[in-house]
Structures are given as C-alpha cells and as structure tokens.
Symmetry: C2
Subunit: 189 residues, 2 copies
C-alpha cells in the first residue's frame, strides 16, 4: 500500500497549484453537500459511528462549525496581519462536543452554512494575491506553513469529512450487502 501511495504522489505532484478562486468555488458548495448527506437521515444513522472513539455524522457537522469559528479564517488573519508573533492557537479536536450537545442536525447544518458564508466573504474581501499565498504563520506542530497550504488544507479537510460521512453511512450496511461487499471499495479500505 505504501509503495503505491508514494508512486501516485510522485506522478501527480503539483498537479494543480492552489488558486483562491478554485478554493472558494469548492468551499462554497460544501454546506450543501453535507446537508444532502445528512439532512433527514434517521436519528440512529446520525449518531452511528464506524467504531468506538470515532465521530458520528452529527459530531462531524459540529467539528466543521468549530473549524469555521477557530481554525481556517482566524489563522489566515494571523498570517496576513502585521503582528510579530504569528503562532496559531492550537486547534482543539474536542472543541466541537459542546457545540454538538443537545442540538438538532438542522440547527447545526444551518449554523455551518451561515459561518461558511461569512468566512467566504472574509476570504473574498482579503483579496489574497499570489504573494500572499507564500506568507507564513507558525503552526504549533509543524512550524512555518504558508497561506497557500492553509487554504488548500481547508478544501482537503472538507473532502476528508465528506468522505468520512459517506463511509459511516456505508458501514451501516456492511453486513446487509452480503457478497457485494467484495466490490465496494468503501467497505474494504
């Protein structure tokens, strides 16, 4: 598996350089994609997990909200600011549990949609140039990271959680599909 993975990385290196317009186009659609995956889903499925200690679709939406509040845009603002200390506040991977607690999925989806809209607005207003994409902040674990890395990670982070929700849904029918399991990549990772 690792060998294949390395080969792919080489083959596709720098396939697409990060462009703010593409980032915005993808980030804009995520709330609808997530809503399509989870709105009106049975309550039992909303709280289903792949395994103990992993997140449910309901918690993933809360995590996306928390990211909008504390991660992507606040870090962009640190990078683009004139402040001396550009170290990011560490992201709290448990920060969303309080957001999720006792709230309906509709309320969470609505909040995510609104926050994402506001953040896209802030990103647009920042009028990020190619030079800006090379500016850096200090990630608490990685050290210096560029704005381009931050923005492309925001997109990939959305994809990671779309991928996770689709996996959680598929997982609930892992036994029900019977022999078809063999053909379903999502059940055979």
């Amino acid at each position: 598996m690792l060998a294949v993975s390395t080969a792919n990385t080489k083959q596709f290196q720098h396939m697409f350089p990060v462009e703010v317009s593409t980032v915005i186009s993808i980030l804009t659609r995520t709330p609808d994609v997530i809503k399509g995956l989870v709105a009106d889903l049975d309550e039992t499925w909303l709280h289903a997990r792949e395994e103990e200690g992993t997140w449910s679709p309901h918690e993933i939406v809360a995590h996306l909200i928390f990211g909008e509040q504390t991660d992507w845009i606040p870090r962009m603002q640190i990078i683009l600011s004139d402040q001396e200390n550009k170290t990011f506040t560490p992201f709290d991977r448990n920060g969303h549990f309080q957001i999720a607690s006792g709230r309906s999925i509709e309320a969470l989806l609505h909040q995510f949609e609104e926050l994402r809209k506001e953040n896209i607005h802030i990103l647009l207003a920042a009028d990020v140039t190619i030079d800006d994409l090379r500016k850096t902040g200090i990630h608490p674990a990685f050290g210096p990271v560029t704005l381009g890395q931050l923005l492309s990670s925001w997109v990939v982070h959305d994809m990671t959680h779309i991928y996770q929700i689709s996996r959680i849904i598929a997982k609930q029918y892992e036994v029900e599909v019977g022999p078809w399991k063999e053909y379903m990549g999502i059940l055979n990772r």
Copy 2:
C-alpha cells in the same frame, strides 16, 4: 489493517437491517450530493484522476447513469418477476465510457437526476415487503443474492462514488497542503 477491519465488522454486525424507506431516503439525495461535489468544478478537475486507469468525476457520473439504466432496478425487476431464469445480465464496468463521451457535466448530472427519480418511483410502486427483501436472483459472479442485499448495495454503491469523488478532489492538493498531509485521512489511506 485487516485485523482492525475484521474487528469492526464483528462489532457492528447487523447494526441496521435494510429498510426500504431508509434506502429511498438516502438514494433520493444522491443526485444533489454529487451535483454539489462536481457542478461548476474546473474542467481540469472534472477530468482529474487519482492514478492512471481510475475514473474521473466526469466518468463517475456516467457510471452512475449506466447503473440506473442497467443495474439496480432491472435486477430488482428480475428478482420480483415470475420468470424461471433469474440470472442477472453481467454489469459492464466499461459501459459508461460511451455515455460520458463528448457530454457536458451538466447534461450528465441532469440525466442522472432524472433516471434516479424514475427509479425511485419504480421502487416505491413495487411496494416491496419484508418477504420480498428475502427473494433472490442469481448474480453472475456471486450466485444467489437477495433483494435486500441488492438494495443495500445500491446505497453503499452511491456512497462509494461520493467517497471516490471527494478523494479525487483532495488528491489534487496532495502536495499543496504541505505538512498538513499528515492530518488528512483522505490522503493517507
């Protein structure tokens, strides 16, 4: 990896038995989810692949169309019919290339949406009972399979391709994310 996978399977066995209402609720939303992921995506991304020999988002939508035309509902109809020979026609995994060829993503998304609507209609009209879910047809590779297995596979198949499209999009920024790659499950399978 295999050991973990087996453990999960045991833990979640028969978590949710297949129910037609849930199947319909999930299948109904897939066209919107796919549209959210690919509509207005840059042309280069629509034709991007994870690696040689795998499908692009554009081809995946065509494959979903081909499934609506030749796979799920036609097989359900064989299972529920009175015909003696209940062997399914083998599914052509290359059948979608002709559908994809020269067509815009908008045309493909529209066709998928329409076919899915019609098929949900046929599924609703079939008024499938719990007894029906146990009826069988003959899969060309697996032998006897039940209608319940077919319908849950239809759902998991949708999820497999949502998961695949989110992976293809993420892959394009594999290098751009820099050190964040380590945190992105979707880039570290």
